[in-house]
Structures are given as structure tokens and as C-alpha cells.
């Protein structure tokens, strides 16, 4: 985006304050949703998590192994859980029914395994901490505590 600032100082100041106000509004409105969901992993895998790259390939079961060769243990919430829906839309930029289609195909043709499903965020956090090589997601905004 390009801004056309005029030459006079007063106008300059006015525009600055307008810009910062807009920016403030944007931040205020976008923060809770943009930063609400976050990918987490077992503490031992936190360094590798940064190298993993494409999240959609992990949740779509195309990337199955950590860079060190260990199998990724995927942990998710049920398809109809609001946090799951939000995570899939915000972080993977797809929809829960697309993931379900992929998982069902793997499960019911025997060509792959399903992610482990937990019922709450508390369970998610507990299982992630207990399970080596696991990946899941949590809510940072505290909406689904």
C-alpha cells in the first residue's frame, strides 16, 4: 500500500494520527482471532517444530515424520469443536470437512492412520506433554478454556 503524504506539516501530523488510529483499531480487532490458536508440540520437539514448515501437509497426513525420522503423533479436537474449526480455517486455510475427507480415506482403506482425538484443550495439553513426537494446537486467547 502507498500513502501520499502532502507537504504541509499539519496535514502530515493529522494523517499520522489517523494512520495510527486505524492501525490501533486493526490490531485491536485482529489480535484475538489471529493469535488465538497456536501449534504446540512435545517439549523435546520444540526446536524441530520450527523446521517443519507446511502445517497443512502435516494435518493432511502428507508429512508423516519429523526431520529426525520419528513418526509425528498428531493430536486433534473433534471435528465439531469450535477451536478445531478455528484452527483449521486460520492456520491451515482449509475447512474441517476437507481434513475429515482425507482422514476417512486413509482410515477406511487401511492406507494410513488417523490422528488421535481428545475431547478438551486440557486433555490436549496433557497428552502433548506426555507423548513424545506429538503435535497439536491450543488457544492462546483463552476463549475455549
Amino acid at each position: 500500500m502507498k500513502f501520499n503524504f502532502s507537504n504541509t506539516k499539519i496535514k502530515h501530523k493529522k494523517q499520522y494520527s489517523l494512520c495510527s488510529m486505524l492501525l490501533g483499531f486493526l490490531l485491536a480487532f485482529s489480535l484475538p482471532s489471529a493469535y488465538a490458536t497456536e501449534v504446540i508440540s512435545h517439549p523435546d520437539n520444540s526446536e524441530q517444530l520450527k523446521e517443519l514448515g507446511n502445517l497443512r501437509a502435516i494435518f493432511g497426513m502428507r508429512t508423516l515424520y519429523w526431520p529426525n525420522g520419528e513418526k509425528i503423533r498428531l493430536i486433534v479436537l473433534p471435528d465439531d469443536h469450535p477451536l478445531h474449526k478455528q484452527f483449521v480455517k486460520e492456520k491451515l486455510h482449509i475447512f474441517p470437512h476437507q481434513l475429515r475427507r482425507t482422514w476417512n480415506r486413509l482410515i477406511y482403506t487401511g492406507t494410513g492412520q488417523a490422528p488421535i482425538t481428545v475431547n478438551s484443550m486440557a486433555e490436549m495439553q496433557e497428552l502433548i506433554n506426555q507423548t513424545k513426537n506429538s503435535i497439536g494446537y491450543i488457544d492462546n486467547g483463552g476463549q475455549y478454556e
Binding site: 473433534p78 486455510h93 475427507r101 482410515i107 482403506t109 487401511g110 492406507t111 488417523a114
Partner: protein, 430 residues
């Protein structure tokens, strides 16, 4: 009984494999961990846990209710209600090593007269999966045993209700040809390639199918007194799938080359030298948006029936009809768990005789021309009550009778050309 004992025997064999391999895997797990952590105290739960994580059990169950006018579907549904469709599946999968896994699925199925009211048990798939080569952009491997056929968008999971939008699959997957396309005993070579513009996956199945199905034999010979059974020659089926944005757009091409022979026929059977070759091509495209979805599939099938006894002409002939199936289907999600589907579906037995007139003339109009085609308009609603439970209902307005089960409709002279189906289904999956 023979078939059943074979199923049991193979299930046992695979169970044996499961157990021996899991023991092997546990041993290797134990050894590697042991050398790494020699200073640590022994803790059994450390070793038990990884084994359990690599072992999964899943299943599905569905029950349908049908009512129809004019003709029967799944039992005696005409002017009545039939509960003739039940499917129950249970599978086990075990990831023994990073590049070696095992999977087996058993299926119990009732589908009208063909299975009888007591139903049938079958081994749906059972294979060993070995990945030769793997990196973050793809993999290459082989599965050996009984593998599902990746035919079109829905065949691989055709018995799992929740994986397709309507109770009745599109006509291209009609029940009569089920045993032709269901699965293959042999090998599946597979490769995946993931790129920034989408993911490619290719599967190639080589082996024999299990076409010993009365319905298929009756459809080919039109002779209820056939003495033999159909058996498969070496066949293959290939599928190339291109998938953008995790299934937002899917494009696929499937090709099958299937061979059948007629076995164990009495010397008096006019079809004793029958030989069948089927070449089939299917093009598939699908869009899956947040609310809206659009699906279309088109298939052409070149059939070669050699040394087939033609009851109309009362002589042995070769016939080469080309059949065509296509449909277009739209879906709309009013809510995340409530979806409506509308489909127009068409099936033609012989594209050189689309309205079946030539067929009816050959039989001196004893058989109706509308055995040559089926057109179906479907309107359905599906409610996913929870991720596990689903109910759906649909209405079909059907024109033609080519895809009807001859076992459910034994009175072939009194079929009705325009008819309705009302269907309801409840399904569970885990």
C-alpha cells in the same frame, strides 16, 4: 461355506502376521531404547506405550430404510418398507516400523436379495504396506494382499456411509458392477508427489478381482439357469489423482482393464466358452468449498463379450457394447453439519442404442426398451449430529431400469419405467 472358510483362514493368517510382527517391533524398540538409556531404571510403561500408539482400531455401521413405487431396491421396497441394507465394518491397522505397516478390514453386509436377509461376511482388505523410499516431497511403495481399487472418487470407501454425500452412490458405481471394481488380490504400487501447486498421487493395482457374484453373471448371460461362475483373469487398474489445497479441487483419471472367464460350467451350458474383457475409463472433478461443493464424473466402459449365448437370437455371438455413466452433483452446507445435495445422474447400457429400442426389437418387445438406460434426479439432506453419528434422507425420481438388481426384481417383464425411491439412513463411525 467355501468362501467363508477362506475368509476365516486369511484373517487368521493376517492375525498371525500382526502378532509376530508386533513382537518383532517391540523387540527392536526395546533394544534401541535399552542401548540408549542403559543408566535408566526399567519402566514397563515406557515400552508399552509406543506399541499402543502404533495400533489403531476403527469401524463403521449403517442401516438404511427404503420405500419405492414401481420397482424394488434393497429387498421388497415396492409399496412397502425394506430395511435391506446394513453395513458393518471393523478394521485394524498397525504401523510396525516407519516404512512397514499392516491393515485388515472385515465387512458384514446385507444388500437385498443378493446377500439374503442373513447377510454376508467378507474380507474387505488385508495387506502389508512397504514404503521403499520417502522424503518430505513424496514417497514410493507397494502394498501386497487384498487392496481396494481407487476407482473414481468414491469406490475405495463405497461401503462407508459418511464418505459419500447420498445413500445411493451415483449410477457409475451401481451395485451390479460392485464385485468387478471393489478390490483386487495382488499388489498396489503407489507414489505420492507433493508440490507447491498441488499434490499428485498415483496408484496401480495388479491382480485378480472377485467377481463370483450371481447378479453380475445374470446381467451378462440373462440366463437364470447358468451352471458355472465368473472368475477373474489377471487385471489391472490405475488411478492418477491431482489435489489442490487439501481437496479444495480434485481431478482424477481412473482406468481399468479387467478380464473375466466362465468356469465350472456344465458341457450343456451354452456359455461354456464365454470370455469377457472390460476396459473402463473414468474422469472425475470435484470442488469442495466452505459451503458449496460441485462434483462431476464421466465414465465410458468398453465391454467385449466373446462366445456369449444370446437368448434373443438363440445363438452364440460376440457382442461389444460401450456403456456410459455420468453425473453432476452440487452440495450446499447450510450449517457445518447440515448439507443438501442435488444430483442429475445418467447411465446408458449401450451408447449405440441409447433408448434401448434396438434391444427391445431383438427381444420382440418381450423385454422393455427402458432396460437400456437409467436417469435419476436425487435430492438429499444429511445431518451430522455428532462427528460419529449421521442421519440422512433422500428422494429419487428415476426414469429407466437398467441399473436395477435382477434378484430384487425377478419379474423382469413387469418393471416400471418411471418410479420413485424414498430412503432414510442412520450411520455411525469411529
Amino acid at each position: 461355506m467355501n468362501n467363508f472358510s477362506r475368509v476365516i483362514l486369511s484373517t487368521l493368517c493376517y492375525l498371525f502376521f500382526f502378532i509376530s510382527c508386533s513382537i518383532f517391533a517391540e523387540e527392536t524398540e526395546f533394544n534401541t531404547q535399552n542401548t540408549a538409556d542403559t543408566n535408566k531404571e526399567f519402566n514397563w510403561s515406557d515400552y508399552k506405550k509406543p506399541w499402543m500408539d502404533d495400533f489403531q482400531v476403527h469401524g463403521f455401521l449403517s442401516q438404511g430404510l427404503f420405500s419405492s413405487s414401481g420397482n424394488n431396491v434393497y429387498g421388497k421396497s415396492k409399496d412397502s418398507v425394506s430395511a435391506g441394507s446394513t453395513e458393518l465394518g471393523l478394521n485394524l491397522s498397525y504401523q510396525a516400523l516407519n516404512n512397514l505397516s499392516f491393515a485388515v478390514q472385515g465387512l458384514y453386509r446385507r444388500a437385498g436379495e443378493i446377500t439374503g436377509s442373513e447377510g454376508e461376511v467378507s474380507l474387505d482388505f488385508a495387506f502389508i504396506d512397504y514404503t521403499f523410499f520417502r522424503h518430505n516431497k513424496g514417497r514410493l511403495g507397494v502394498r501386497g494382499g487384498r487392496v481396494k481399487n481407487p476407482w473414481g472418487l468414491y469406490n475405495e470407501t463405497r461401503d462407508v456411509a459418511s464418505t459419500h454425500p447420498t445413500i445411493f452412490l451415483p449410477l457409475a458405481y451401481f451395485e451390479r458392477s460392485r464385485s468387478l471394481f471393489l478390490s483386487m488380490d495382488g499388489a498396489q504400487f503407489y507414489t505420492d508427489y507433493n508440490t507447491s501447486v498441488g499434490d499428485f498421487s498415483f496408484k496401480f493395482n495388479l491382480g485378480v478381482t472377485n467377481p463370483s457374484d450371481k447378479e453380475l453373471l445374470l446381467a451378462v448371460t440373462r440366463n437364470p439357469f447358468s451352471t458355472g461362475s465368473l472368475a477373474s483373469d489377471l487385471s489391472f487398474l490405475a488411478n492418477l489423482n491431482y489435489d489442490i489445497n487439501n481437496g479444495e479441487y480434485i481431478f482424477a483419471i481412473s482406468y481399468a482393464n479387467l478380464g473375466l472367464k466362465y468356469n465350472n460350467a456344465m458341457p450343456t451350458d451354452p456359455n461354456q466358452n464365454l470370455d469377457i474383457k472390460i476396459d473402463s475409463l473414468m474422469l472425475s472433478a470435484q470442488y469442495n468449498g466452505e459451503k458449496f461443493s460441485l462434483t462431476g464424473e464421466y465414465s465410458l466402459q468398453w465391454n467385449q463379450f466373446n462366445n456369449l449365448y444370446d437368448p434373443a437370437e438363440q445363438k452364440i455371438t460376440d457382442s461389444h457394447p460401450v456403456s456410459e455413466h455420468w453425473y453432476i452433483q452440487t452440495g450446499y452446507r447450510v450449517l457445518d453439519n447440515l448439507q443438501f445435495t442435488l444430483r442429475y445422474d445418467s447411465s446408458t447400457q449401450d451408447i449405440s442404442d441409447r433408448d434401448g429400442t434396438a434391444f427391445a426389437i431383438r427381444y420382440n418387445h418381450a423385454l422393455p426398451n427402458y432396460l437400456g438406460f437409467t436417469k435419476d434426479i436425487v435430492f438429499g439432506a444429511r445431518w451430522d449430529i455428532t462427528p460419529a453419528w449421521m442421519v440422512r434422507a433422500e428422494y429419487h425420481r428415476v426414469h429407466g431400469t437398467s441399473t436395477l438388481s435382477a434378484l430384487d426384481n425377478p419379474d423382469i417383464f413387469n418393471l416400471v419405467e418411471d418410479w420413485n425411491i424414498y430412503a432414510l439412513q442412520v450411520a455411525y463411525q469411529f
